[in-house]
């Protein structure tokens, strides 16, 4: 893949990459930084991309790594990872009813697994690889996260319909 083609593909992937970084870091400025760093790295390591079709997972893994680098660095420097006052959002579209919004209310560890599993289509093995977790730990978080998601979706459905709880959420 040449760099012009990479330009175009990266630009197409900007929203998914920001979604991953935002989901992990929960901080707009840092998410921007992580995605920027990932893009730089992608250009530099382009020759290591074996298969063009795997650009998205490859770039996602790089982004995840950059996010973790940033988290580690922030722990050393101990700056606040709290969102700055009046911080601009990553997305201007209404995301209130999206899974991404639901994930923001979940524990970070669980949300990261769900983010990669549902949005990026990663397998549990790929998630374990990307997040540096054991595969059983990924499976456990996925199982618990799925349960939590079912509850959230059921609540959402109840609110929308104004009826009593059904046995299963209707997706």
């Amino acid at each position: 893949m040449d760099k012009e083609n990479l330009d175009m593909r990266i630009w197409e992937l900007r929203a998914p990459l920001l979604r991953v970084a935002g989901g992990i870091l929960r901080h707009t400025q840092n998410a921007e930084d992580a995605v920027s760093a990932a893009i730089v790295t992608a250009y530099q390591k382009l020759d290591t991309l074996r298969n063009e079709e795997s650009l998205r997972p490859w770039l996602t893994r790089i982004t995840v790594r950059c996010c973790y680098d940033l988290l580690k660095k922030s722990r050393r420097e101990q700056p606040s990872m709290e969102p700055a006052e009046a911080e601009a959002p990553l997305f201007v579209s209404d995301i209130r009813d999206t899974l991404y919004s639901a994930l923001e209310s979940m524990p970070t560890g669980m949300a990261r697994v769900l983010l990669l599993y549902y949005y990026e289509g990663f397998s549990t093995v790929e998630i374990a690889d990307a997040l540096g977790m054991s595969r059983p730990a990924v499976s456990t978080r996925l199982m618990r996260g799925r349960k939590k998601l079912k509850e959230l979706l059921l609540e959402e459905q109840m609110r929308a319909e104004g009826v009593e709880a059904h046995e299963q959420p209707n997706l």
Partner: protein, 434 residues
């Protein structure tokens, strides 16, 4: 609705979600992509932290010159002894950086700050290999005027490093009396690659008299007899390494007093000393941030790793079920038979070239397994926030002859109260036989 149906329905819904990026954020991405520095292929990471790169570089040059002019480093097991003028920063040691996607051993950056009467060592350890490692590091201080120093904080004895994990550890020495102007600081570290099967749990080591003690010892002995590495650990955050304790069953300890777990497992071949090589080193600046001479972050993993680890088998208690991974690339049949003998009640998941694979009928026949595919797994007890104890078990009852390729198998993860036979809640866990 089972999990597979739920996942498919949710993914269909997600396809309709739209995320319109904030124009201000888009502009920053666009600027990054247009950066001429980046186009030249040199690193210009957009993070604010590296704006101090020239300062770090100057520090590195200073440290390198200081080391060159000083007495040559004393070679130990990946160790150095370097003179330190108070209160400067000295260089560190670590594994040689290669252009490969993965390292051959964990990177270890050790630096020291000497100020006042305190010498503080900081080890920053990153495992960018495809293997799991345990690592120990040690420090020392020497000076001809030295009357008395004490190690106020020792490094963790053993650090567990899953692939991709990292951690920072510290060691501190304090002077009893007046601190000298210069101080020779030494350090060394040794990494052991984990090559054997392992049994890993996070819910603590039960003492004699405690509830669950006998069951835990029985489990440890089963795993030990199957030549698994026994590891007890505290909880730490994902992606971070942490301190672990290697464990031997009490029966073995009584029979072999004086032998340490590390000695035993090294002798068994589960831990192989494969220490990192020396490298150019790196420094710590005044704010204790680690940098490397080339100002690059560690190489990134890319592509799919077909074989994730060289381990034959792992097991974990601490999840909701006893869980085994057998990588078929590495003598899986023998490993599986050994695991099956060691853990007859366990639920098995087989990995073939990195892909999850249930124990199909054909495979079961090939491996000579005639028992039910997934019988009753050992329970896992856990404590909730209120202090109440619960137990989780994972059960299924699929006879092997009824399992076929493409079948959907549902296991039940059963949550209950300790000592009670009635389940409080059941959670289906679904797998497809590939």
């Amino acid at each position: 609705m089972n999990n597979r149906t739920f996942d498919e329905a949710l993914r269909r819904r997600l396809e309709k979600e739209e995320f319109e990026v904030n124009p201000a954020v888009e502009e920053k991405i666009r600027q990054t992509m247009r950066s001429p520095v980046m186009r030249r292929g040199t690193r210009r990471v957009a993070r604010r932290s590296l704006r101090l790169a020239p300062v770090f570089a100057a520090l590195m040059v200073t440290a390198a010159v200081a080391l060159t002019l000083a007495q040559p480093p004393k070679d130990a097991t990946n160790g150095q002894t370097s003179p330190v003028d108070q209160p400067v920063i000295v260089a560190t040691t670590g594994v040689e950086n290669t252009n490969a996607a993965f390292d051959s051993a964990p990177r270890v950056h050790i630096g020291v700050r000497y100020a006042g009467s305190k010498a503080e060592f900081t080890a920053e350890i990153v495992n960018n290999t495809q293997s799991t490692w345990v690592l120990q590091w040690r420090t020392s201080v020497e000076h001809h005027e030295l009357n008395g120093w004490t190690q106020a904080r020792e490094p963790e004895q053993l650090l567990w490093l899953e692939p991709g994990s990292s951690c920072t550890d510290k060691a501190v020495w304090l002077a009893f009396e007046s601190a000298p102007q210069t101080l020779a600081c030494g350090w060394q570290y040794t990494g052991y690659r984990v090559d054997g099967g392992m049994l890993f749990w996070i819910d603590g080591y039960r003492q004699l008299g405690e509830e669950g003690y006998a069951e835990q010892q029985m489990l440890l002995e089963e795993a030990f007899d199957a030549e698994s590495l026994l590891i007890s650990a505290g909880e730490w955050e994902n992606g971070e390494a942490g301190a672990v304790e290697l464990v031997l069953p009490e029966r073995y300890q009584r029979q072999h007093p004086g032998e340490t777990a590390l000695q035993y497992y090294r002798g068994m071949g589960a831990l192989n000393e494969d220490s990192a090589k020396e490298c150019n080193g790196s420094g710590f600046d005044d704010y204790e941030r680690a940098v490397r001479p080339d100002m690059e972050s560690e190489p990134l993993a890319e592509g799919k790793a077909e074989c994730y680890t060289p381990r034959l088998m792992t097991a974990e208690i601490g999840s909701d079920y006893l869980y085994f991974v057998i990588d078929s690339v590495f003598e899986s049949e023998a490993a599986f038979r050994k695991a099956k003998e060691g853990y007859p009640r366990a639920f098995y998941t087989v990995y073939v070239n990195g892909k999850q694979d249930m124990l199909s009928a054909e495979k079961a026949e090939k491996l000579g397994v005639t028992v039910q595919m997934a019988a009753d797994a050992s329970g896992y007890e856990w404590q909730d926030g209120s202090g109440a104890w619960h137990v989780t078990r994972c059960v299924a009852s699929y006879p092997v002859e009824e399992i076929h390729r493409g079948d959907m198998i549902t296991l039940k993860a059963v949550y209950g109260e300790v000592g009670q036979t009635k389940a409080v809640e059941e959670e289906p866990v679904t797998y497809i036989v590939p």
